[in-house]
Symmetry: C2
Subunit: 197 residues, 2 copies
């Protein structure tokens, strides 16, 4: 049976997103052009423009794509135990970039453009809001279950994300190899000493 | 008595740094040109080029200038009591930018260029190393005095700076108004629960 048009369209999107990922990884944000994405995609720039009007549209879709991948990873976290769930969320947030250091670099460039680029700014805000919502929900749950020490869910979520964002910035700016390890250990200490009952 | 040539030269440097500060604040890093700095300085671009060959040289000097101002503020912290000294250092690091939000934005743009710009990268590393040294010294001292809980000075310093850098990033990217308050409260909680004996 032939695939549905929807399915085919989403395969094309996936291929363009993968090409964007590789082009960003290789050339960075400042060096990213539709031509380089097309080269990675193995087709003409027209084939990309057919789906995305501008580079900015494509990059907005790419940020959505990264968030979607994160959501999928998070949905695999099936546990409802608050402490375990918080730890697993933190594991997802503080991932060793491994071979993906170039992506961290490109993301920081895009982040630094947020004050000048409303599309980026809105995406970064939505991402942050979604992740905060996940964290606040599990913290609420832990407080109610008496496993957490009745901490302020909003402040706690913002604190944990501040550590995550600090580690990502330091990994790029200072090439601090241990930035993510430091962050993982720091949130562990904070959770043990402040969050847990 | 006439001022010494050294004194006059340092007055000129100061005036150019102030002009760079205002130009960065107003136009951001991407919009910064020698012409705009010269406009703020009230002289020709040639007058600036006489002191700084390139924009990059000038920005490297500007980063040094900011660090020097930070050092001066830190040197006013005369107390040797480890807990008080740590708190005062953290106060200096987590300053409400107030009217200087534009400078935070420009700094993040420069930071995001560190992977591509060795001059910037070296400055940011030196700054970070210096501040880490100050923090590690006071933590060592607190451990020895028995006021701190024998914590790892390097990890603790890196953790505190991760929170600072995360707050600065979030203040710019998300326009999170409470980013610095969150950071101040978070380091307070961390110090109380983890660092203090």
């Amino acid at each position: 049976m032939a695939e549905s048009p929807d399915r085919r369209s989403s395969d094309i999107d996936e291929a363009i997103m993968q090409a964007t990922y590789r082009a960003l990884h290789e050339h960075g944000y400042a060096g990213l052009t539709m031509q380089r994405i097309a080269d990675e995609y193995g087709k003409s720039t027209a084939a990309i423009h057919y789906h995305y009007d501008t580079k900015e549209d494509l990059l907005a879709a790419f940020l959505d794509y990264l968030l979607e991948r994160f959501r999928e990873a998070v949905h695999e976290v099936e546990t409802t135990d608050p402490e375990q769930r918080l730890q697993l969320l933190l594991d997802q947030l503080i991932v060793d970039p491994g071979d993906h250091h170039g992506l961290l670099i490109a993301m920081l460039e895009m982040r630094s453009q947020a004050p000048y680029n409303e599309t980026f700014r809105e995406r970064f805000r939505q991402n942050d809001e979604y992740i905060r919502y996940l964290l606040e929900t599990v913290i609420d749950h832990g407080n109610e279950a008496g496993v957490f020490a009745g901490v302020d869910p909003e402040h706690t979520a913002r604190t944990l994300l501040t550590v995550v964002d600090g580690a990502r910035t330091r990994a790029v700016v200072l090439e601090e190899r241990t930035a993510l390890e430091t962050a993982r250990r720091a949130v562990e200490e904070y959770v043990d000493a402040v969050v847990l009952a």
